[in-house]
């Protein structure tokens, strides 16, 4: 009997035992990603219908991030018997083994949603035993499944928008590192958007608390809420209070994940969280630090009353990768967002 034989014996036994353990408890390692989206069994039936399976539920946010006019359906998965824990600031606490699932798609014709859609990408944040892991899945041509893509991808998408205009984008799927370009708090991976102010809408949090999905939810009056900026129909004629609430929510949803003292854009000294009370931190009459040609020959982040002298707007209006903001996730200009921010700066 050689040492090699014993080694093989022990290894084989180990493999068999692990397989048995895996089968009998029906657990999947929470740290190993699936190669295909279908492997998680987050959805039942036809995968692209996104019908949630047990333990998976949909959620909505108040101030969504603009990503090239993609439509989104967002879900949370909680392992049986676990729940989210409420925190007033920052992302809720997620139990190990849970996941956040965000699906990006385009309706072929946005004014006629019944006429089919194209699934582009599904992003999954897995809460593993040591922290969060970001994974991107790209949908196949047949729309039957999506496969893991660590190094990202680029592909064209065509659709008709609500005004009947034919649209085109070179859709960019971020690579794993780019995910953290936004999902970062003091250099550690963090979810964005699953916080009290974003999720506090349509009684969503209360319903979760009632069904045991969320613990430690305080009195409704103590829960912060962002304003749903998409409800402002006509920013140009909106009153100043509404504009302030809408614009600050827009900046929170689209900029503050990086532009906060703990985010990747802390280097800029410009902080755009909705709770930011310091006007200079917000960029008002603040000279840029390292904007380079991103300044567009303008002198300050925000010049009250003068959107066309404000660097903030210049960077929103650009599609040049060296100028545009946000740096990632936007190839197209967000016209509605620009109208809102322009009206807000003008109203100052």
């Amino acid at each position: 009997m050689t040492a090699g034989f014993y080694f093989r014996l022990v290894t084989t036994a180990f493999i068999i035992l692990s397989l048995i353990a895996g089968l009998s408890f029906n657990v999947r390692s929470i740290d190993a990603p699936e190669l295909y989206l279908s492997g998680y069994r987050f959805f039942t039936g036809n995968l692209s219908d996104l019908t949630p399976a047990d333990g998976v539920f949909e959620y909505e946010v108040n101030a969504p991030l603009f990503t090239d006019y993609a439509e989104k359906k967002r879900f949370i998965y909680l392992p049986a018997g676990t729940s989210l824990t409420y925190t007033a600031q920052g992302a809720f606490e997620f139990p190990a083994g849970s996941a956040i699932i965000k699906n990006f798609f385009y309706y072929n014709d946005a004014s006629r949603r019944g006429e089919g859609k194209k699934m582009a990408e599904t992003r999954i944040l897995l809460k593993g035993s040591t922290g969060w892991k970001a994974l991107t899945y790209v949908w196949n041509e047949a729309q039957s499944d999506a496969n893991l893509e660590v190094a990202g991808a680029v592909f064209p998408v065509e659709w008709k928008n609500r005004d009947g205009k034919q649209m085109h984008v070179e859709y960019v799927v971020p690579n794993t590192n780019q995910c953290k370009g936004c999902h970062s708090f003091d250099g550690k991976f963090t979810p964005v958007g699953v916080n009290a102010a974003q999720l506090n809408r349509n009684n969503q949090l209360q319903l979760w608390a009632d069904s045991g999905k969320l613990s430690q939810l305080p009195e409704p009056s103590a829960i912060p809420a962002l304003f749903d900026y998409t409800t402002i129909e006509d920013p140009v004629h909106a009153d100043n209070t509404l504009l302030e609430k809408g614009a600050r929510a827009y900046l929170e949803g689209n900029c503050a994940h990086c532009h906060n003292p703990h985010g990747p854009a802390s280097t800029s000294g410009m902080f755009l969280e909705a709770i930011q009370a310091d006007r200079e931190r917000l960029g008002i009459m603040k000279p840029p630090v390292a904007a380079g040609r991103g300044s567009g020959d303008r002198k300050f982040g925000i010049v009250p009353g003068k959107p066309h002298e404000s660097i903030l707007l210049y960077r929103m209006e650009s599609t040049d990768p060296g100028i545009r903001m946000p740096e990632l996730g936007r190839q197209l200009v967000h016209n509605e967002g620009i109208t809102l921010i322009k009206a807000w700066i003008r109203s100052m």
């Binding site: 660590v150 190094a151 070179e170 970062s184 250099g187 550690k188 630090v289 567009g296």
Partner: protein, 394 residues
């Protein structure tokens, strides 16, 4: 038959480079994502066109290595996504070496929150004529500790070629910076040594700045020595709004609002406007809102440098240059102090209290002027050549 096939295969690679290149990009990026502790990622020799930011995140002891500055050339000319060429974030002990990166849309190499970062034998440049549309920084470590930049070349940045921001423990040595707005800039950074570099034909050669509104408040403890800082007379092509846009063409070394800076043994030659400036933030004529910010330089010593003799015509496109020309014609003094200080740091007779001294030692051809400007206006008619209070040896 087999030979014919290989020739065809070879032709396929020669005439179909796009396919091969995007392959290389994907391979480098995948290797960067999957890299394990201790890995060396080799980038082969060749000219590669890269379409998006390459990135390393949360890695330890990883080396990214090309086949040589003139052999491995990554061009970002057709960049479609990401603002940087290469981005390294939240890492420990990373080495970048032996390659060239050029024409990124934003910064060429940005490293943020990295402890232990070496840039070695790297060229980072914008090709073509220096232009406003070039990106900001060629080599850009920010919020890093233990930074070493050695034998690197930075060309054409519309802000700074080698820009070290909000970092600690920094070496910049044997580097060349050319045709940038600022050749080498040390900003809000502590414990930086800048020596044996060659900064030439920039707008400003070597800048040591402390700026307001930043998370890392105070830089300082900076040494600038044994450098050749020559002919930094290039027109200022920084986009407006950027602080380096206020630097006059013809600046050799400039210390702005920083404390404990020693500038010595440098050859500072043929910089037409300010060979060496020691100035407050007020010189930028930008309002200060940051209440914790100290806008004055202190503990600055300039000694044993060699300035070139001869007449120079200062730039007239900058207020400072204009004042110089108005006052001195072509006999522009080499060492300029703007004279704006914290009143609490100065004694009644005008001399500095010990720890706030501005010291001007022996310098070859080291002519001196104190602008004696005030916070509200640079246009000073009180310029003094008196060096008494700046002599720290008496």
């Amino acid at each position: 038959m087999f030979r014919l096939f290989s020739v065809r295969l070879l032709l396929l690679f020669v005439f179909n480079p796009v396919y091969a290149q995007s392959d290389v990009e994907k391979r480098i990026q995948t290797q960067c994502i999957l890299a394990e502790d201790g890995d060396i990622i080799e980038i082969p020799a060749g000219n590669f066109s890269i379409s998006g930011t390459l990135s390393l995140d949360e890695k330890k002891n990883v080396t990214l290595r090309g086949a040589g500055q003139d052999k491995t050339i990554l061009s970002f000319k057709g960049q479609k996504q990401g603002a940087e060429g290469l981005k390294v974030t939240n890492c420990t002990n990373i080495i970048l070496e032996n390659f060239t990166m050029e024409d990124a849309k934003g910064d060429i190499i940005k490293t943020q929150n990295v402890s232990g970062i070496i840039f070695r034998d790297i060229t980072a440049r914008w090709t073509g004529k220096p232009d406003e549309s070039n990106g900001s920084y060629a080599l850009y470590p920010v919020q890093c500790q233990k930074v070493r930049i050695e034998r690197c070349t930075a060309i054409g940045a519309s802000d700074a070629g080698i820009y070290v921001g909000q970092s600690d423990s920094v070496w910049v040595t044997e580097c060349t910076a050319k045709n940038n707005v600022a050749g080498i800039e040390i900003e809000n950074t502590t414990n930086a040594w800048v020596w044996k570099n060659h900064a030439f034909e920039n707008t400003g050669g070597i800048l040591v700045f402390d700026l307001p509104d930043l998370p890392k408040k105070r830089g300082g403890h900076v040494k600038v020595y044994d450098n050749l800082v020559a002919r930094n007379n290039y027109r200022n092509f920084a986009p407006k709004g950027n602080i380096v846009g206020t630097v006059p063409a013809g600046t050799g070394v400039m210390v702005l609002a920083t404390n404990d800076v020693e500038v010595y043994n440098n050859k500072i030659w043929e910089n037409k406007t300010v060979s060496t400036g020691i100035v407050s933030y007020y010189i930028t004529e930008t309002p200060i809102n940051d209440k914790s910010y100290i806008p004055y330089p202190s503990g600055v010593s300039v000694h044993d440098n060699i300035f070139s003799d001869g007449r120079r015509m200062p730039t007239l496109k900058n207020k400072l240059g204009f004042i110089f020309w108005w006052k001195f014609g072509k006999r522009v003094p080499h060492i300029l102090y703007d004279g704006i200080s914290n009143p609490d740091w100065v004694n009644a007779d005008g001399s500095f209290k010990p720890s706030y001294r501005i010291c001007i030692g022996e310098n070859e051809n080291g002519t001196f002027a104190n602008l004696r400007a005030d916070k509200l206006s640079l246009m000073s008619d009180r310029i003094s050549r008196d060096q008494t209070h700046f002599n720290c040896n008496k």
